[in-house]
Subunit: 313 residues, 2 copies
Amino acid sequence: MTLTELRYIVAVARERHFGRAAASCFVSQPTLSVAVKKLEDELGVTLFERSAGDVTLTPIGERIVEQSQSVLEEVQVIKQLAEQGKDPLAGPLRLGIIYSISPYLLPHLIPALRERAPQMQVLLEEDYTARLAEMLKQGEIDLAIVAEPFHESGVVTQAIYDEPFVVATPKGHPWEKLDHVNSEQLSEENVLLLSPGNCFRDQVLQMCPDLNRESVPAGSSLQRTLQGSSLTTIRHMVAGGIGVTVLPVTSVSPADDALLAIRPFVEPAPTRRVVLAWRKNFPRGAAVEAVRQAVLGAGLTNITYLPEAHASA
Amino acid sequence: MTLTELRYIVAVARERHFGRAAASCFVSQPTLSVAVKKLEDELGVTLFERSAGDVTLTPIGERIVEQSQSVLEEVQVIKQLAEQGKDPLAGPLRLGIIYSISPYLLPHLIPALRERAPQMQVLLEEDYTARLAEMLKQGEIDLAIVAEPFHESGVVTQAIYDEPFVVATPKGHPWEKLDHVNSEQLSEENVLLLSPGNCFRDQVLQMCPDLNRESVPAGSSLQRTLQGSSLTTIRHMVAGGIGVTVLPVTSVSPADDALLAIRPFVEPAPTRRVVLAWRKNFPRGAAVEAVRQAVLGAGLTNITYLPEAHASA
DNA sequence: CTTGTCTGATTGTTTTTTTCAATCGGCGAT
DNA sequence: ATCGCCGATTGAAAAAAACAATCAGACAAG
């Protein structure tokens, strides 16, 4: 049984005439006759009574033609579904973002994305890099905005921008007078870090391994690094004079000026590379590109945008 | 789009593995790969994400596979309908019978048919030959039991039996003493006939044209033939002494002995030929044959069964 | 009765499609 | 680096679909 055969018998039932039915199917009359006969043989029933000048349906033929119409309608639904799903920008895109980017990028990214792909819903997931990697591979999210290093099998990444780190101190802190802070100087201060699992914590530690080396056992009043649960919390702690911290520059807003002193590092300033990541076989490349463009158009300042070439497995 | 392709994608979705899906469809893996790709191209959407060691459905693929399953289920319904309709003895058979056979044959025919084809419903239509012919050609009935002559284009007939006519007189009528009645003798009596339209009336008139020739205008007290609306009515009229009549032998029952005297005609006795008639292209030949066999097995007496060969267009 | 016409069936061939065996190429794991 | 798995690709063979031409039956008109 083929869909073509079903279309043929529906046409014969409609036209009550093999020749006209063939014409309406854009095939020759023998083609249609043979196909109908083939289907009748396969089903083991006679669908049509062919009398001279009048083709009529048998009772069983009537029911089968009716059912065939219903099959063909269901097939049409497949085509409609495909048509709807054709646009890679249509349909929800599940986007994961790490905690240290999400609150600063999303307010700009979402409007930019709305402008470029108004019909694309975005479902957001905020989580740690490791969790996002897992969700990406499991197909629970389609795309992730994370910071390097990020290497997962079956996942490709594309660099979007490098963002420098800056130092945040309380107002009136001696470093406020400096043009640039040296990363070695951090060892002299209480440095507040995000809790383990946040990639930004690891990035800061890698930039300044002294912080790790000189840390003392947990609970000691002497410990040099403290932990905050989010960059916002840490910011408030710094403003309160507990210590200093390192921030990605995109997290700095003009509102911080009232509370904090923000100083750049000496060149070359430490940076982190922010990338888009998606399954290698994720078919909606256009959606990925739309998000990349939206990030580029999000109006982030003090960062270095990277050319398209920066993609890798 | 073909049903095979739909079966393939459903299999891939089920197995999440092209090789296993191919095996479960009893085709080679390239066959399945090519077919899936062809369908994806036709629909313009990617249905599967092929990653190493893991085939997953895209969101649109998921919906399309689901819809495909629904299509395949509808197709199964076609097969089921065909399976149910396969038995030519299943499903109602619309059977038309003329008035002068129906009351005498049906009581025997129905049980005989029930025995031979218990699953076949029979819908009965009782009418004049001309009406039955029309209904047959229009497809309102499938089969008719009528008496010759019966020639309709597109309709074939098969003779079942010849039944002789007999004469019925009131008890005590002079003819009761005769071994045989001659048809010419009928002219001497009031002969009661069925009303026009009943084929049996025509058959009697053809057998004995004198009745027609000698009839006088309607309303005359001299008219030699009277009309009854049914053989039963006529029987009662004869029993009442109004005249004599001619009956087909199958309409004679033992109960008549109490009221009537039944005499045969001199050989060769006039007869009528009872036939089955159906549209030439009526596909349920087995149902026709079942009815024929049931008539043969109905236990009619005093008739001459005819061999199968007596079929004609 | 014959002829012509209409209609679906049949036939033989061409074209298209489907299928398969063999092979490739990418990817991940050992 | 190599091996094994898996889906894609290729080229040839088989199957199916389609068509033009023709046939055969039925009916209607002459």
